[in-house]
């Protein structure tokens, strides 16, 4: 370790939620550095704040204290439009419950991130290239025959692969996966992990959170989250 540049760095992250009158502290000073090309697994019990951490890392939420910096840039200092652009171009999210849009078919779900960042004219100009990229991704994920299907026609594993396709659409430098196998049986989950491993081999930086030790072991590096802090 240490020979590659750090692209993601979290320092003294604090996050608490208001629950009625009381505040619940979920993260109490998390420090974390991820090098480019690393496959990091964050393991922790259910409710330990893994999803919260991942949302902070991906700019979906802001910490109460501490900083997240990506490529040396502080996310806290970004304006909201810069943050939107950051999420669109730099990060890909994969969620436990896939979160595909029911009204769109598989292909459309995959190229959604490109569509979101383009107006009508811009989209017409890039549509062909975007479709080709989406189709290529589907092929790599073994879903080439499913392009015109609706999410409800797919199995859980297939849906998660579509979600991975969507996350990779804009060639993000960082892939964040929140219990990507949590809702799948072990064989199917294994398939998803193999996809992630392949991506890692191709140079993709990945941060995956899980509560399952066997899943975590598939990663290059494992970090444990407990009591709102990273255990060393």
């Amino acid at each position: 370790m240490g020979e590659r540049p750090v692209i993601l760095k979290a320092e003294r992250l604090h996050k608490s939620y208001r629950m009625g009158a009381t505040r619940v502290s979920v993260l109490k000073g998390v420090d974390l550095a991820v090098e480019q090309g690393q496959f990091v697994a964050v393991i922790g019990a259910s409710g330990s704040g893994k999803s919260t951490l991942l949302h902070l890392l991906g700019g979906l939420d802001r910490p109460n204290e501490g900083t997240v910096s990506f490529d040396g840039q502080d996310l806290n200092r970004m304006r909201s439009w810069e943050l939107n652009r950051f999420r669109n171009e730099m990060v890909g999210f994969v969620f436990q419950f896939y979160h595909l849009l029911d009204e769109l078919d598989v292909l459309e779900n995959v190229f959604l991130p490109t569509m979101v960042s383009r107006g009508i004219v811009g989209w017409l100009a890039t549509r062909k290239a975007a479709r080709e990229r989406a189709l290529k991704l589907l092929e790599q994920l073994g879903l080439q025959d499913r392009a015109r299907h609706k999410p409800y026609q797919l199995s859980g594993g297939e849906r998660q692969r579509v979600a991975i396709g969507r996350a990779l659409m804009n060639e993000p430098r960082l892939l964040l996966a929140d219990e990507p196998t949590g809702n799948l049986d072990s064989t199917t989950g294994n398939g998803i992990l193999k996809v992630l491993e392949r991506l890692h081999q191709a140079g993709q930086t990945i941060v995956m959170v899980t509560h399952d030790e066997r899943v975590a072991r598939r990663a290059q590096r494992v970090i444990t989250l407990a009591d709102g802090k990273v255990k060393t």
């Binding site: 991906g58 909201s80 939107n84 999420r87 171009e89 419950f97 009204e103 569509m115 979101v116 969507r166």
Partner: protein, 447 residues
């Protein structure tokens, strides 16, 4: 771009949006139909009153009337905006048919030719429409005195508001009885009694389309009316009706007449019977008939208020529908934000969706309303022939067809309001949705 795609998909795939469109369409439909019919009825009624009265009236409510009208008419005719004038005597009389019975009527003494230049009197006639000069000449008794009866005094109207006319007016004689008043307003002795009577033959009928006029007015020649109802040295009338030239502005014209009248009156303040001029007022046709028009307009206003309430209900329904849609779609909002969509963009998505719902609803509602109005009279006819049911009982309402002229600007206003209603209804939930942090919407929810 994703917005357009998602708007279309939400529209096509979500059953609840079909209901939203249907709700908007129904409200638009109801408002279009009611507004068109009400507006049509009021406009038609106003037009009939305008046609009946002319543009402007210089007149008095006194039955004694006022003198010097010949000079007044000369002065009026010399005024730039005046096209024609007609002297009128209005009074009440007792009508006695030959075979007994009696009833009170309103008497209008007119010069049929002059009156036809100011009002649509000639067009309201049946037999003498082409030649109003002969309005008071009975075909069956050309040398006798004729009178024109309001159509409901002369003929029966059937349930479809239609009259059955004979080829020539039926021979019938009436006596009209009045109390003649002298210039001081006292009953004048006519021979040995205080009443004067005159026999008339039915020469034609007049259909003004105003029920109150048609069922109680008898038209007789001006000089007959003057000798029946008035006594005294100087001839008097109760009103001069005026028609303005084409293009003359109604209020400007009335103002000009008013100025002329006040000079005219001042110049004759000390003339004999000059005080009779004090009761005379100058009114536009709208003012002159306001006692009849105002209730109709009130009714229309009331309708508008009631249907504004329908509009508010629409806003509320749309609000509820959008609330449901948005709460079903919070996950989508989270997903869209996680891939980089801005809050403004999400807001745009739902406002655009509301706009399209409003637009489709309006188009559907207007199309349905238009179609319904195009067939409304046939539908009413069918209902009547099948079930004997009539929306407007024609034995009471003097209307022929139900108005169905759709006005483009009314449609435009209604569609605009419907779309605005949808936008307002969608604004609150859409704003709430756009503000949602993606984390809150994505947390643990299943797909």
């Amino acid at each position: 771009m994703y917005k357009l795609k998602l708007i279309i998909r939400y529209l096509v795939r979500r059953r609840i949006t079909h209901f939203a469109v249907l709700t908007v369409a129904l409200c638009v439909f109801i408002v279009v139909v009611v507004m068109t019919v009400m507006n049509g009825l009021v406009e038609e009624f106003k037009q009939k009153n305008h046609d009946f009265v002319g543009d402007c009236v210089v007149g008095t409510k006194s039955l004694v009337g006022f003198p010097y009208y010949e000079e007044l008419m000369q002065a009026l005719e010399a005024t730039a905006c005046v096209e024609a004038v007609s002297p009128v005597v209005k009074n009440y009389a007792l009508l006695r048919p030959q075979y007994g019975g009696d009833r009170y009527v309103e008497l209008l003494g007119i010069d049929p030719v002059r009156h036809s230049r100011v009002t649509n009197f000639a067009q309201t006639l049946y037999y003498r429409a082409a030649d109003p000069a002969k309005a008071f000449v009975p075909v069956y008794e050309p040398n006798a005195l004729g009178c024109v009866l309001g159509i409901d005094l002369a003929l029966w109207r059937d349930a479809r508001s239609e009259y059955t006319f004979d080829a020539t007016p039926q021979r019938a004689a009436f006596s009209l009885t009045c109390f003649p008043l002298n210039a001081r307003g006292a009953p004048a002795m006519a021979g040995t009694t205080v009443v004067s009577s005159q026999q008339f033959y039915y020469s034609d009928n007049s259909h003004s389309g105003i029920a109150r006029v048609d069922d109680s007015t008898v038209y007789i020649p001006l000089d007959q009316a003057q000798s029946l109802c008035m006594a005294g040295e100087r001839k008097r009338i109760t009103a001069v009706h005026i028609r303005f030239r084409a293009g003359a502005e109604l209020y400007g014209g009335c103002e000009q007449v008013r100025r002329l009248w006040s000079q005219f009156r001042q110049a004759r303040a000390d003339a004999p019977d000059g005080r009779l001029l004090d009761t005379v007022t100058v009114e536009s046709w709208k003012e002159h008939r306001r006692a009849y028009i105002a209730p109709m307009e009130k009714e229309e206003t009331l309708m508008s208020v009631m249907f504004s309430l329908v509009g508010i209900t629409t806003v509320f329904i749309v609000f509820v529908v959008f609330y449901v849609i948005v709460s079903h779609k919070t996950k989508d909002i989270g997903v869209l934000k996680s891939v980089g969509a801005s809050s403004a963009s999400v807001m745009g998505l739902f406002s655009g969706f509301a706009f399209v719902v409003g637009l489709l609803g309006s188009v559907a509602g207007i199309a349905a309303g238009w179609l319904f109005l195009a067939y409304i009279n046939r539908i009413e006819d069918w209902l009547y022939s099948r079930f004997g049911f009539q929306l407007w009982d024609r034995t009471i309402y003097a209307i022929g067809e139900i108005p169905h002229e759709v006005e483009f600007h009314v449609l435009a206003v209604i569609a605009f309001c419907a779309i605005v209603a949808c936008l307002i209804g969608a604004l609150v939930p859409a704003w709430g949705a756009a503000r949602l942090r993606p984390v809150e919407t994505l947390h643990g929810s299943r797909s």
